[in-house]
């Protein structure tokens, strides 16, 4: 019998092609008690999503080869990850990207640079609601 989310550390998969971003997000989340899996490409992110069973995915949009929206589409096609909450973490503030995220039903849209505490709270809220959130955090 698997542990409930309340009993174990929340597992977060961070997918970003910039290793520095992955490192800083990982450092912040680890310090807040999350278990973090790191991926620096869309392909690696898809592999880890199906093998590590994270509670939530933090996904960059603009990545080479396989972009964030394509990763999202493939996650939804895979029965193992079809209900996995995904929050986009991106430098893009383009309205079309935000609208696309909403249309796809993502659990959140967070722009870089972000407030670390706001990110932590958003992740906890998303996990608490089981992905039924729709959080938008814009940088200020």
């Amino acid at each position: 019998m698997s542990d409930s989310p309340e009993d174990r550390r929340l597992r977060v998969l961070v997918v970003d092609d910039d290793p520095n971003i992955v490192a800083v997000v990982s450092a912040i989340l680890c310090g807040e008690g999350f278990e973090v899996f790191e991926a620096t490409s869309g392909k690696q992110g898809l592999e880890l999503a199906s093998t590590t069973s994270p509670d939530v995915v933090l996904l960059d949009i603009m990545m080479p080869e396989i972009g964030g929206f394509e990763v999202y589409r493939r996650l939804r096609l895979d029965p193992r990850t079809e209900n996995l909450p995904v929050m986009f973490l991106t430098a893009s503030m383009k309205p079309e990207h935000m609208n696309r995220s909403t249309e796809l039903g993502a659990s959140g849209y967070i722009t870089k640079p972000f407030s670390p505490l706001a990110l932590v709270n958003a992740l906890k809220e998303t996990c608490r609601l089981g992905g039924e959130s729709s959080i938008v955090l814009k940088s200020f």
Binding site: N20, I21, V24, A27, M63, A91, S92, P113, S139
Partner: protein, 495 residues
């Protein structure tokens, strides 16, 4: 005027004759009979005067003989009669001559006005075309004939459709505009200005701005079409739109590029301020190192923008002096390492004696850009080779990596401004596509060239050549030894 001649011919359904070159010239003063009247008036009035005098004198003589009046009375009578007749004749002469002068002056003014209007239409840069009810051109000024590639007198008689055809204008043809105008009524008016496509005699299409007006003429409506060639304006508009798009793209890319280091700063600032107690010494060092890298990334971005701005304003100066290419390479590699690059660089120059007449700081900047690119795009654990070769004419520098290479179709665009800008939003490799553009500008300012070649065994070979001699030595500044310069200053200029 030629306009009316051509219209008359158009009504007859035939091509107009060439306009009479003598028509409208200021030559009618000598030929017009009306102009000669004043000269003959003088003699006519003199004759009338003499005739009247003779009549009066004769009558007086008869009177003298009949009444036996003294000769004194006769001459008094003769004198009074002469004065009265002369006064009447003078007044009459002045009235007639004034009327004639006014008529002639009005005619001359009209002629001068027509000639002036002719010169105005001849001198106009826009085509002025009159179109008859059948759609045929009845008049064109010289600009119209030049614009559409016809010889003088080549446009009248042709269909307007042949120079501004409907098939090149998807929205509507000139005929449609005429029809709209006709629906508005028969009075003078215009339908404003529309942009259409013109057709030159050779078949080339070009953008035109067409202004159409209806002009009443003896109860008929003549269509006046003024056509302006807007090719240059369109080109300028396209340039402005392209530059605006580039600027918009630059802002997007710069904003995107700045968000990454800002994320690093904000994230690690939170950790160092709020969670410092939980950080291990290694994590603390890692945080500081990554902050430093992010600061370097921001500095590079700002320096690239600054250099690009100086290039745009033509303010990137070149200060040539005699330098040794081998030493430049060594120092460029050393300074690249000083900035944190851990890549293995293989220095493969064998020519130690060649001297180059160039700006050492700028050449090193080119080498930094190429070394930085080679480091960014090369896989880990591969080395970058750098060397130079020289002949009597030029010195060629090479920076060769084992990266993915540059596709043939992208090589021509690689050195364009913001080339990477298309893709920079989709990957995290630092840079906004200005580095190679700056490198090319520096090399060009030296009269050199830069290109990328495929490297045997995989990878790219970025190479650039600089003319060895430069300008004559008698105007060159005194040579300096690059090894005595302060390296920190050069690092600061690019890093």
């Amino acid at each position: 005027m030629r306009i009316h001649d051509s219209r008359a011919i158009e009504r007859e359904g035939s091509r107009p004759d060439p306009p009479d070159p003598g028509l409208g010239k200021a030559s009618c003063v000598d030929n017009d009979p009306a102009v000669a009247v004043p000269r003959y008036y003088k003699y006519l009035f003199l004759c009338i005067f003499l005739l009247a005098e003779m009549t009066i004198s004769g009558w007086s003589l008869v009177y003298v003989n009949m009444e036996k009046i003294t000769y004194r009375w006769f001459f008094l009578n003769l004198g009074i009669s002469s004065l009265v007749i002369t006064a009447i004749l003078l007044v009459t002469y002045r009235m007639v001559s004034r009327t004639v002068r006014r008529t002639l002056a009005a005619k001359k003014a009209l002629q001068r006005s027509e000639e002036f209007l002719q010169r105005v239409t001849d001198a106009a840069n826009d085509a002025i075309v009159l179109v008859g009810s059948t759609g045929r051109i009845t008049y064109s000024n010289p600009a119209g004939e030049r614009m559409f590639g016809y010889a003088a007198g080549g446009l009248p008689g042709r269909e307007m459709e042949s120079v501004v055809p409907a098939r090149t204008n998807s929205d509507s043809s000139l005929q449609d505009h005429y029809a709209r105008l006709a629906e508005q009524g028969t009075g003078p008016g215009d339908i404003g200005t529309v942009e259409m496509m013109g057709l030159r005699r050779g078949g080339n299409e070009f953008p035109v701005e067409v202004s159409i007006s209806m002009v009443p003429d003896n109860g008929q409506q003549v269509t006046e079409v003024i056509i302006r060639d807007i090719s240059e304006r369109k080109t300028a508009q396209a340039t402005i739109e392209r530059q605006t798009e580039e600027l918009r793209n630059l802002i997007d890319v710069a904003a995107h590029e700045l968000r990454h280091p800002a994320t690093i700063f904000k994230g690690y600032a939170f950790l160092l301020l709020e969670r410092r107690d939980t950080l291990s010494p290694e994590a603390f060092d890692d945080a500081v190192r990554r902050i430093d890298e992010a600061a370097t990334r921001v500095t590079r971005l700002v320096n690239d923008l600054f250099d690009a701005s100086r290039i745009e304003r033509g303010k990137m100066g070149i200060k040539r002096e005699e330098v040794q290419p081998g030493k430049l390479i060594i120092r460029a590699v050393e300074e690249t390492r000083m900035n944190g690059c851990e890549r293995d660089f293989i220095l493969a120059s064998h020519d130690e004696m060649t001297e180059l007449y160039a700006d050492p700081e700028r050449i090193k900047q080119v080498l930094w850009i190429l070394l930085d690119n080679a480091d960014k795009f090369s896989p880990e654990n591969t080395d970058v080779e750098i060397w130079h070769e020289s002949n009597r004419a030029e010195v060629v520098f090479h920076v060769a990596d084992r990266g993915p290479g540059v596709p043939e179709e992208k090589r021509a665009l690689l050195f364009d401004r913001f080339f990477q800008g298309e893709d920079v939003l989709h990957h995290s490799t630092p840079g906004i596509g200005l580095g190679l553009h700056i490198a090319r500008t520096i090399v060009s300012a030296h009269g050199g060239w830069i290109e990328v070649r495929s490297r045997e065994g995989g990878g790219s070979d970025f190479c650039f050549g600089i003319p060895a001699l430069g300008p004559p030595l008698d105007i060159a500044p005194a040579p300096t030894d690059p090894s005595t310069e302060e390296p920190g200053a050069m690092v600061g200029s690019y890093r």
